[in-house]
Subunit: 209 residues, 2 copies
DNA sequence: CCTACCGATCGGTAGG
DNA sequence: CCTACCGATCGGTAGG
């Protein structure tokens, strides 16, 4: 990783668009969009602020790219899960697994989406909300299907859907890549929690009796 | 509620410290600390920016007050629950109920704590982290106790504790006071979810067999 | 990739 | 509570 390199005293490879995006991702995730200046992003890359404009159109466009790309990936993940699974139980298990996994392996992107989507200029803000709602409705419908088929048992599909999705989202808040748990382990445990919440637990750990 | 009042053309009561705090709370929650200017807070109150300094020491002190007061309340709630309940199941039910309820009834405070604690100056940032950790450890110990007594069944107290707490926190992200659900209803459902997650469900809805 | 520079806005102060 | 004002920093442009 390149950090605070003095670009004038050595044969240092030029900064790329991907480098700028990565530096912005780290800083936006840590301090928020409005808490990060272009000067800080430039310093992290070892260049001057105006040089950033060789790679970006504006600070806002940098945020748009991060948020919209991430939301697109979330929906792609979800659509793939729905295509590969038929029954509500397997669908919920797979959907929560990939969703939690993504929030463990792409923590920065998740934090930026959740903190800073509100700071997007129009029309990107509306586009982002629409994509998010798409995932939201797909997820809720999955739970409604499980209730209709009698394999889920929960008072409100709406409340359960929010609880499960936001539980997965929050993995980005506490998970550490260098910690004792693997992302896969956490994702598996979270998918178990989701099934418990909708009353579809199939593991052998039921209450003792 | 006073909003955009022209304070020079009528006998309007003077702005109070509580008014400033309330306006800041709303704007910080909506746009974040760095996304909110003192000018916007002043405009919301119908006064000029410098007049705010009759009520606050600085923008940062305004944030400190909001964050530290809120975190203190969370710990007070938790300590009261622990004093009033003895068994892990009742403790977890009560702790998640009050925690989810607080996030439904104090949405703005919760959003600010979660988004902007990182922007506190020292030493307040460390103080906030210490209070938060206090709640975190108390909550986790509650789950460890339930495992030790054999009334909970979950793979990792740490993962379950994060999942349950963050699930409650996220109520602030979607709950609407003017929506169809009451805060009490949501809190009750979330406490059921928590008991399901730790494998301590006592409701009558167990899996059909 | 750089230096030089811009207008706008920021949090905050002086003084009444 | 106000007007007048401050230095610092912001995102961004000109020009090379």
């Amino acid at each position: 990783m390149k950090t605070h390199v003095d670009r004038r005293s050595a044969a240092v490879p030029p900064v790329t668009k991907a480098d700028v995006r990565d530096a912005a991702l780290t800083l936006f995730a840590q301090r928020g969009y409005h808490g990060t200046s272009l000067k800080e992003i430039a310093e992290k890359l070892g260049i001057r602020t105006p040089s950033l404009y060789n790679h970006i159109d504006s600070k806002g466009a940098l945020l748009s790219q991060i948020v919209l790309d991430t939301l697109d990936q979330v929906v792609l993940d979800f659509d793939q899960v729905m295509a590969e699974n038929d029954e509500p139980i397997e669908r919920l298990r797979a959907a929560t697994t990939v969703y939690a996994l993504r929030h463990a392996t792409h923590r920065r992107e998740a934090l930026v989406v959740n903190q800073d989507t509100v700071h997007l200029d129009e029309p990107d803000r509306s586009v982002a909300q629409r994509i998010r709602r798409q995932h939201e409705h797909g997820f809720r419908q999955l739970i409604v299907d499980g209730l209709d088929e009698g394999v889920f048992s929960v008072e409100s599909a709406k409340v359960a859907s929010f609880a499960i999705r936001e539980m997965c989202v929050s993995v980005a808040r506490w998970f550490r890549e260098d910690g004792p748990l693997t992302a896969e382990d956490v994702a598996r445990q979270y998918s178990d929690y989701a099934l418990q919440i909708v009353g579809a637990a199939t593991s052998g750990r039921g209450r003792p009796n």
